[in-house]
């Protein structure tokens, strides 16, 4: 398929093929359901993949940027929507604990700005290139990342 063409309503299979062709197998599409595509992306490629999805596959809207603390590593999950066929791509990026950096996508979707800020303040994942990476929900005086598994709530063993 032509990887440089613009697809307004790409089907799930098309998305899988296009991602595989464009990024030469580095993007691993793990699962396909109706209107859902699940993929894992290496950390270096995330900005390029997002740019490609936004520009060529017309995924105009970012739903969430989710941080998960997998104890062995950190994980960032992106949910990206297409408004023309209701399709959602879930991109999973694994980040090592000792180097919690990932490229910011808030220059592609401005709506991702606050989600990245939230993930930063709750997990300590640093989004490179973010315009204003500061604490959003918690008071500025907090020095811990409350959503890390190492931070225990009252009654949590």
């Amino acid at each position: 398929m032509d990887t440089n063409a613009v697809y307004q309503k790409p089907t799930d299979e098309e998305i899988k093929t296009l991602l595989n062709e464009k990024f030469e197998g580095k993007v691993n599409v793990t699962k396909i359901e109706t209107r859902r595509v699940y993929a894992t992306v290496p950390r270096e490629l995330i900005h390029q993949v997002c740019e490609y999805i936004h520009d060529n596959l017309t995924f105009e809207h970012i739903s969430t940027v989710i941080g998960v603390d997998m104890i062995d590593n950190l994980r960032v999950v992106y949910h990206i929507d297409n408004y023309f066929n209701g399709c959602v791509i879930e991109l999973t990026v694994d980040i090592p604990n000792d180097d919690p950096h990932v490229a910011s996508i808030s220059d592609i979707w401005v709506g991702g700005n606050w989600h990245e800020r939230e993930t930063y303040e709750l997990f300590g994942i640093i989004f490179d290139g973010h315009p204003h990476l500061a604490r959003l929900l918690t008071p500025d005086t907090y020095e811990f990342y409350p959503f890390r598994k190492s931070y225990k709530l009252r009654g949590q063993e």
Binding site: T138, Y151, L153
Partner: protein, 187 residues
């Protein structure tokens, strides 16, 4: 009562006169006048305050919707003279109807200080009473009474509008006690 200075009052400096006269007035008041004035005026203040409770117009969380519903036609809290004012300077009651995060804690204290005396505080809903469902959270204050003194607790999650009106009628009793104790000439 230091009446011996009375003839010299005209010859006093302004400062001397002020201290002397205020001391004299205090003596006079402590000699029963204050009690009598309080006894006579207490019911008037109490009646006025009870029937003109102005809570602060401030919705925090779930109970704020029930607060709005309480002034809606079915429950109609305005029958009791309750009007929500937005400026804390013109209110009598701080009505906190939601959980208190660490970020809002100083603001609540500040709002409380801005309300002119006499003032009352009502904690509405479980969150304001004790933290409610967020008992183990890292970012909430477990209860309003850790910040400001609370007069009435209205339980419920969220408290129903009729429960809220009931709470305010309890507060009316408390206001009555407050004024019958005699506080008019205290400040």
């Amino acid at each position: 009562m230091d009446m011996s200075l009375y003839p010299h009052a005209v010859a006093m400096s302004a400062d001397e006169f002020m201290t002397w006269s205020s001391a004299m007035i205090n003596d006079l008041l402590s000699a029963g006048t204050k009690k009598t004035v309080d006894k006579l005026t207490g019911p008037v203040w109490s009646w006025a305050m009870k029937n003109s409770m102005h809570p602060l117009h401030w919705g925090l969380a779930c109970c704020a919707l029930e607060m709005a519903a309480a002034s809606a036609p079915r429950f109609d809290a305005e029958r009791y003279g309750m009007i929500y004012r937005s400026s804390p300077r013109q209110t009598d009651i701080l009505l906190v109807n939601g959980w208190i995060s660490k970020k809002i804690r100083p603001e609540i204290r500040r709002l409380y200080e801005q309300i002119p005396n006499p003032k009352w505080v009502v904690a509405m809903g479980e969150c304001a009473i004790s933290g409610g469902p967020w008992y183990d959270s890292y970012n909430t204050v477990q209860g309003l009474d850790q910040i400001v003194p609370v007069d009435v607790y209205i339980p419920g999650c969220p408290a129903r509008p009729d429960a809220m009106i009931d709470g305010f009628m309890l507060l009316q009793k408390k206001i009555d006690d407050y004024f019958r104790r005699g506080v008019f000439l205290e400040d």
